[in-house]
Amino acid sequence: MPKPIISHPKLPRNKLGLIERDYEGVVSTLCAGCGHDSITAAIIQAVFELDLEPHMLAKVSGIGCSSKTPAYFVSQSHGFNAVHGRMPSITTGANAANCDLTYIGVSGDGDSLSIGIGQFAHAIRRNLNMCYIIENNGVYGLTKGQYSASADVGSSAKKGAANKQSPIDAVGTAIGLGATYIARSFSGDKQQLVPLIKGALAHKGFALIDIISPCVTFNDHEGSTKSYAHTRQFYHHVIDVDFVPPANEIKAAYDDGASMPVELHDGSKVIFRKVDKDYDPTSRAAAFSFLRSSINAGEIITGLLYINEGNGDMHELSGSIDTPLSKIPYEKLNPGKKVLEKLMDRYR
């Protein structure tokens, strides 16, 4: 359902002259209070503030509640709602054909960590240039409440049974596999989310944001470790970042010992505001050990845990030209009649 158009002359406009409403989509059909809708709002704010041309964004998703959300933001960009767990391959092909677009993928814990874990892993391996969001609620919503692979041991389902299998942690998995931008956040923390999404979109390579996004209908009860209450109680803002667009001066005052700017390939920067001075967000080993110790302590650490701007993305790794392949005129792709004639000699 399209939203009614109301515009106010005083609404803030971005560099393209667009208002935030221009980045919205159709009305969400998710349950009232769903964490996913808050993430949608954060995405809208992030792309609005990044002055992204709507048609240069490509939205991709798999199947599940989370994967419906690309319909709810930026209706002026193309969307691709793929089959279950296969969004990474669609994005790989789309990116192979046109590297000029900005890719945002929205997936869920079932879509990414169960049916789609193979594609999730291999998109990381290719360092596919995309922002990959997991809207993680520990449960299958659309099929009414089965555990997902991210459910914690001891977390109980709505009907009371506790989960006994150990969870697949998206962030730990991504560190292990070598993703180049890895963050965790909470749907209820837009302040933290918006710069994380901006950084992920500007990062050239595979950027994962695993976002705890409580399911109000099937996984928000007492005993669940993915509920609003549990997340709020155990969640720690440990490594916040600020996002500074290209050509902007870093204005905020940072305590030198606790902050660290990292420049992204397009000239923008993420500034780490760290709790622990000794934490190095460019060290995979440090990120993994920090993550494990916090999980053992029952804490949900959030923020940008790891970044590596040095690895080439899929195109750099394969050596393809900068022009999007889909834009190369046929004349430059076809070897021509004479070449074929000459080639025939080799087969005689």
Partner: protein, 600 residues
């Protein structure tokens, strides 16, 4: 009895001993003598150690199907002596490595056994185990050259070309040829009555396998994205595409690649990559075989319903399941025609030889873009991996890819509103837009229920309107796909109807049946859905033998399903042992059926 330019040689070796280059040398030399020839490789699913065979058929008449009998056997593998000996026609020859005399095993009285101490000679002449093994194979080519009067100058020139940059290898290969040649000249009376004589029948022809031709077709069609998961027998298709791209698709200014090949984690991802790429306007393809199609099923149905182009090459191998991966069959017809759940059906193309692989690959990309649907081209291991003689491939300089109904930014600018699944032309084919072109072109590509405007729907009438319109498109496809090849005479009331690589066996069978006063017409389908010519052809005959290489008569089923052919008219002739069909089989089966008919 002398047999000039009309005989078959079979070479039995051990996999991994380098016999492929020796066999290639043999066939190419005969080809260069102007004599029609076909070489077929029967290899195991193995890297080293299992038996492998190569069959060379020399045919002055240009028949390219497998020969029914073997005149000369080169038995290089003692594991298979008894089997190999039994394959030889009475009066034929068996050549073996007599370094280890085996007269007790090779005891057929009606053939001539020629022992040549190939290993002994090579061990004395060459150093190094690997070289000795390789050269033993080259030496049997030398021995054969003397026996069948193969032109030594041609062999020499070919070796010099092959090893132009490695002169020492040219020399050792030539030495090995001489070892075999000289020994035979000295010890046996040469040439045999089964021998070669130069002809002029291979001018303006090439020897190429279907996978190479298909890969080349992808380059000429302007395909830029190839995704795949390695699977026999399709792997060499992507190898060919890659190698041609490295020659013809490097940007001269930047050195960057004007192509992107992604080796995917599995076939599910390979087809996903293709769909992502075509969604964005690139021409993209994936080569695979039956097991890959099974895995791609869900996405193929998605592409059918969301209307995305895709080109899939299924180089068929023997099923079911893993089956016999290095043997041939035409067993994926039904799988491909109706791949995926729900009401789906797909356009299929059936090349019969490498030449058609080249042209049909190009046609596949055009059809995929025009029809906005997956196009599957079904070749098989016999076409894909064996070298066939084909006329030189030609290119029409005026060719332009037909990208179908894609709206440009200018089109969109001047439009009131764009609707993705609106059938404004009445041919069932809607207009599409590409991401990144224009904000007005945006739509949500989905496999869930949608109405003609592209919006999500669970409304019965809206849903049905779209799936009914897909049937209109299906009938448009029927008129766009390649027409069948038909040989027709009104004097014949029976006919053969077949597909793909059966073609050579059938053409030869028809000639030989005619010699026995059995005249039959012939229709070879080149695509599914079948166009009206196929229906008309069936209607004109009382009885039709449907020849195909699978157990269940899949082509026959498709004819019944798609053009409502009368099942009683259609008699299956089925060849499905994994080896390529040959003319003798077709003739025997046809005669058997005729006899049955007479008795009844």
């Amino acid at each position: 009895m002398s047999k000039i330019n009309d005989f078959a040689i079979k070479i039995a070796t051990v996999n991994g001993t380098g016999s492929a280059s020796a066999n290639g040398l043999l066939t190419k030399s005969i080809f260069r003598m102007g004599i029609p020839i076909v070489g077929k490789n029967y290899f195991p699913s193995n890297i080293q150690g299992l038996p492998t065979w190569y069959e060379v058929r020399v045919s002055k008449d240009g028949f390219q199907s497998r020969s029914s009998c073997i005149d000369i056997m080169i038995a290089m593998n003692s594991q298979t002596y008894s089997k190999d000996m039994n394959d030889i026609v009475s009066g034929g020859w068996l050549i073996y490595d007599s370094t280890w005399p085996r007269s007790n095993l090779l005891n057929r009285k009606d053939i001539t056994v020629l022992g040549i101490p190939l290993s002994k000679m090579c061990n004395e002449h060459f150093d190094g185990t690997r070289t000795r093994i390789l050269m033993k194979n080259i030496a049997y080519v030398g021995a054969l050259a003397a026996l069948i009067d193969l032109d030594l100058d041609i062999i020499t020139k070919l070796l010099e070309e092959t090893f132009a940059s490695k002169k020492h290898l040219a020399k050792s290969n030539l030495d090995a040829i001489s070892l075999g040649y000289d020994y035979v000249k000295e010890h046996f009376s040469c040439p045999l009555p089964t021998m070669l004589q130069p002809m002029d029948e291979t001018k303006d022809h090439i020897m190429m396998d279907g996978n190479t031709a298909t890969g080349l077709g992808c380059v000429f069609a302007g395909a830029t994205v190839g995704a795949w998961y390695p699977i026999t027998p399709s792997t060499s298709l992507m190898d060919a595409y890659k190698s041609f791209c490295k020659q013809f698709r490097m940007d001269t200014e930047t050195g960057g690649k004007k192509f992107c090949i992604v080796q995917a984690e599995d076939e599910l991802a390979a087809i996903g990559i293709v769909l992502g790429a075509t969604w964005n306007g690139a021409r993209a393809f994936t080569p695979t075989s039956g097991p890959g199609i099974s895995l791609m099923g869900e996405f193929i149905g998605f592409a059918y319903y969301a209307e995305l182009p895709a080109v899939i090459f299924d180089v068929q191998r023997t099923g079911p399941s893993t089956g016999m991966p290095t043997r041939t069959q035409q067993c994926d017809l039904l799988l491909c025609a109706y791949a995926s759940h729900g009401d789906t059906k797909h356009v299929l193309l059936f090349p019969a030889n490498p030449e058609e692989c080249f042209y049909m690959a190009v046609a596949a990309f055009d059809l995929a873009d025009q029809l906005q649907t997956p196009i599957m081209m079904l070749s098989d291991l016999d076409i894909g991996m064996n070298d066939w003689i084909c006329p030189n491939l030609q290119w029409d300089e005026n060719y332009q890819p037909d990208k179908g109904k894609v709206l440009s930014a200018e089109d969109l600018e001047s439009m009131e509103q764009f609707y993705r699944y609106f059938d404004s032309d009445g041919d069932g084919i809607p207009y599409r837009t590409l991401p990144g072109e224009h904000p007005k072109g945006a739509y949500f590509t989905r496999g869930s229920g949608h109405n003609k405007y592209g919006a999500y729907t669970e409304d019965s009438a809206e849903y049905q309107e779209v799936v009914d319109r897909l049937l209109v498109k299906w009938n448009t496809a029927r008129s766009m796909v390649p027409a069948p090849t038909i040989e027709y005479s009104k004097f014949n009331s029976t006919a053969i109807l077949s597909v793909g690589s059966c073609d050579e066996a059938i053409k030869e069978a028809l000639i030989r049946l005619k010699e026995k006063n059995i005249g039959m017409n012939y229709c070879r389908v080149k695509a599914f859905p079948f166009n009206d010519d196929v229906k008309t052809f069936i209607d004109k005959h009382e009885q039709i033998y449907v020849v195909e290489q699978n157990r269940d008569g899949q082509l026959r089923s498709l004819l019944i399903l798609d053009v409502d052919a009368d099942p009683k008219k259609l008699i299956s002739i089925l060849h499905y042992d994994g080896m390529p069909i040959n003319a003798g089989f077709v003739i025997d089966k046809v005669e058997e059926e005729i006899t049955k008919g007479c008795v009844a």
